[in-house]
Symmetry: C2
């Protein structure tokens, strides 16, 4: 039906007759002449209908925006002065010799020349995706998966599919359930990840597994989450953590080089403890030059209890962020707003200090808490932070977690507001995570319960779980966690010890993961893996502001699809067959 794509026609075709298919992107009626911008997947070309063929001109005259048409015409160079250098096809135009309307279009419910509501964009997703920006993102996503597959397959990874209808998995978020008809009263769960299956595949000797696979979490969709998302899932046998990091770092580096022509270089590695200390986050955005500086040692003897309390508490933290040149940027009102902001993270206040004139000593400083600090402490503080005239310092003093999180968030907010964040790519590996976090005397796995500890026997781990480090690693890029993984436990005794530390009873372990524990006793190999969030990776690479913009058919924040009206009513016979009934009947939504 076509000889060329619109976006492909160029000067080499001048004089040729071409047949094009696509949509009327724009139509200009210049009296005797009609100009069409014809759009297809590959781009836009200008078509001109003139009075030499009056019947054809009349047909062209009946076209409207978004009509789907077939054009026959002859390529010619544009007259001088009409060449459009911003357009790939701007040197030529197609003199229209015929036009066939393949399908007419009613006026669109979306206006491509303005911002449309999220709800409408999703309801008419098929139209929203016509916008070249959206088409380009989906195309880019396809290029990413293609490059990932190529990289992994060239390194011997096998694409193996794991089930979607399965048992509850151990990630800890809420599962989507699927009632079974043949086993009434029982339910499948949709996988939160293929974690257990990929470990089983290592026990099968597959050695290098990968899969680009849908995963499901029934969570409240705060922020930028989706009920179904896509993971680049990887597992290996007989490889160390270092090797897994090498292989996957190579993959990501190749990807950026190939698709963005960006060399990410070697990724630095940073222990979790350093990331929390310097950046207050386990996914530090290294583009931002601000850092958190600890000052507990400086203020532990001051009378100001707000500082000396946490400074002398083993679980406390006192720290500051210095914003170079920030003194004039923050009015009282700004500071009040920032204080409110850090309050979200539990900070009960946010003392500050402006260095108006360093040469003037204490006289040159301005701070509501200056009077509570000794001169020695202030001097040490200025030295520690290397503060200069014009700087502002923000203080945090509370539990380690509260100070880290609130100053970590403050750092990002100020960095963005003041435009301090550089326009680079800053990847790193965060390593040496704690095995467990302790909440109210109960240990929780920081990653998941199959993560192996670094250099510790089962006995050592149980003797002192609080200090154990896990053999886990997260890849972080520009403050976004791209992926994470770990060496897994392949030893039955170690797995049992971890379950005991987590307070998972033998019975519960057997019920939930009995098959994995059993599998460990038949010569399970040492294995390790990693999973990347594909949506987030593509979002970063395309500069999209939401993962919704890199998915063809995403859900709303209430996990609904305005296009297909999913979820929908089920008919009672269907439910009876499944052996279930609804206990809350919402009113049916009005039909449109």
């Amino acid at each position: 039906m076509r000889t060329h794509y619109c976006g492909e026609v160029n000067e080499s075709h001048v004089g040729q007759e071409v047949t094009l298919c696509g949509w009327v992107n724009r139509r200009r009626d210049l009296g005797a002449v009609i100009f069409l911008d014809l759009r297809d997947r590959e781009g836009i070309v200008q078509v001109v209908y003139d009075p030499d063929l009056p019947e054809v001109l009349e047909k062209a005259n009946s076209l409207r925006n978004e009509f789907c048409i077939q054009v026959k015409g002859k390529v010619r160079a544009r007259p001088e002065g009409q060449v459009n250098k911003d357009m790939a096809t701007g040197a030529i135009e197609v003199l229209g010799l015929d036009v066939t309307i393949l399908n007419r279009a009613a006026p669109l419910p979306l206006d491509f020349n303005q911002e449309n509501s999220e709800e409408n964009r999703l309801k008419y997703r098929y139209l929203d995706l016509r916008r070249p920006e959206m088409t380009e993102r989906l195309r880019f996503r396809a290029k990413v998966t293609s490059a990932v597959r190529e990289s992994l397959e060239s390194q011997g990874f096998m694409d193996i599919e794991t089930p979607i209808l399965t048992a509850a998995t151990p990630e800890g978020a809420r599962d989507y359930l699927v009632p079974s008809r043949t086993h009434k009263g029982k339910f499948f769960a949709l996988p939160q990840s293929p974690q257990l299956f990929k470990q089983l595949l290592m026990m099968s000797g597959m050695e290098r597994y990968y899969q680009i696979v849908k995963c499901f979490r029934d969570e409240d969709l705060r922020a930028d989450r989706q009920p179904e998302f896509t993971q680049i899932d990887i597992e290996t046998s007989f490889m160390t953590a270092d090797q897994v990091m090498e292989v996957t770092e190579k993959m990501i580096r190749e990807l950026f080089l190939k698709l963005l022509n960006v060399d990410l270089g070697n990724f630095p590695r940073m222990p979790y403890s350093e990331a929390m200390a310097r950046f207050g986050s386990d996914k530090p955005d290294l583009r931002n030059p601000l850092e958190i500086v600890d000052i507990a040692d400086i203020v532990k003897d001051v009378e100001f209890k707000v500082f000396s309390g946490p400074a002398n508490d083993e679980k406390g933290r006192v720290a500051v962020i210095r914003v170079p040149g920030g003194a004039s940027e923050f009015s009282r009102k700004n500071i009040d707003e920032l204080t409110k902001f850090v309050g979200i993270y539990g900070a009960k206040g946010m003392p500050w200090l402006k260095v108006n004139d360093k040469a003037a000593g204490l006289e040159g400083l301005q701070s509501p808490i200056l009077k509570f600090l000794s001169e020695d402490a202030v001097t040490a503080l200025l030295e520690r932070t290397q503060a200069e005239t014009g700087d502002i310092i923000f203080f945090g003093a509370d539990s380690y977690t509260t100070v880290s999180e609130s100053l970590g968030a403050l750092r990002l907010k100020i960095g963005e507001e003041l435009g301090l964040t550089s326009n680079e790519w800053k990847p790193l590996w965060v390593v040496d995570f704690p095995m467990f976090e302790e909440v109210d005397g109960q240990f929780h796995a920081l990653h998941h319960p199959f993560t192996a500890p670094t250099r510790a026997s089962a006995e050592e781990l149980e003797a002192n779980p609080a200090v154990a480090l896990s053999n886990a690693y997260d890849m972080v890029l520009n403050g976004v966690e791209l992926g994470g993984g770990s060496v897994r436990i392949h030893d039955q005794a170690m797995q049992a010890a971890v379950f005991r530390i987590l307070g998972i009873s033998d019975e519960e372990a057997k019920e939930k993961f009995g098959f994995l524990l059993e599998a460990l006793q038949y010569g399970a190999p040492p294995h390790a893996g990693l999973a990347f969030g594909l949506d987030r990776l593509v979002m970063l690479m395309t500069g999209a502001s939401s993962i919704r913009d890199v998915m063809a058919f995403p859900k709303t924040t209430t996990a609904a699809c305005p296009l297909t009206n999913a979820p929908g009513q089920a008919n009672p016979e269907q439910l009876a067959e499944l052996g279930i009934q609804t206990i809350v009947t919402e009113k049916a939504t009005d039909s449109e």
Copy 2:
């Protein structure tokens, strides 16, 4: 942890020290010397431990089958006479210098030297997959998907993901439902195919879409079906049926050439009516030389009502299969069994005729119905079927459907029993399907309701739906439907006409497919597509006898997973959150 894969070590490594990882496939203790067959993903190599290193020998002595170990050793040529030419690594062996036990193995619950029960194979799937035959199938499957992706991407197809949590789709099988927590009382359906989404993507202008995607059908798993299966899903815009067939035929041909070194040649095309007439099936196995031959015209005037009845009925059929040389192959008992067999397909009997001696005329024939047929009819029959001495002829006389289906099945059965089916690859396209089948005065879509008719306007279609042909095409290989597709309806009026013919009310159409109908009015392009069953394709290519053998973790025939015990109990709080309760409570299965 390793320098080489076991299966890779060869004569070029003689004299080198290597480190290998893998599983003890077999251990032979020859007094002072221990031989190990060490297995990894790439193959098996022989390792020898001798008394020169007594400590190492002792460690080797503690090894048992399926222990996971690391071996350090030196490659050496095998002594003459011990070279094993059936083994890729049979020219060499590794003199073991050290061994490390990575994980011990309890005696396996599966015996690799014998057939294991299907239930046990699924319960210990991770062990069953260690069998090289199973590993090889999964590896082959990965090669298939990789080659398919390469072929399609090189032709401009974009891999685009469509949702798993969606609305009910129109394939007509039973949906799996997923209760929504945020919209209590409502349900998502798992897709039976991405049909509507891929059509919407064409309306978005994606032009060439593909996806290798999980689909779901909650059917009773007779024969060789699985609740979740994988489709190679394809959709195109601005392409004719011929072009879609060309593109996908090219893909399959390249696949067979690349992975099996088989040239399938150009696929012949056969109208549905011819396939039913000659082979009694819409997926004829062309490796089988037997054909159905119509004889209604010959017997329409005989007194034998069993024949003349259907022969004079517009919806009847009288036909035969001649089995060359079959007269001596079928005893009365055999024939009785075959009669029972065709009874499954509704045939009320199966007359037969043996040509014991053609030269002897009627005398040379043997048949319980000979007396009912005129001599002219018999002569015409023998001529039509080109029967020779030693042949047997089986008769079918009933409705067109019953005769076609029963003789079609008989043809396959006899072909297989007598070993007539050749050992070749016989692909074809079946085309020109009827648009609708009529059952009790009600029309049903033979494919699905979005399939376009061939050369008919909406008015013509509604005027005479019974004779309309659809623009659909099935790819058939060796009697298996590999894939099927069609040109879709892109015209709103045509789609509305088809819904009317199918008895789908405007209201129902709007409720179920309203978004598709609406989408058709905004310049929907002409589009067409196809979907292949990946599992079935891989099964055929690997010669596996079940699709279960080409899936990593299949379900049982009652749609359960003995490995993970899915489906399982859900806890009551979880169900309450989802706004559902079970109405049939089965007894909890005994814990193991």
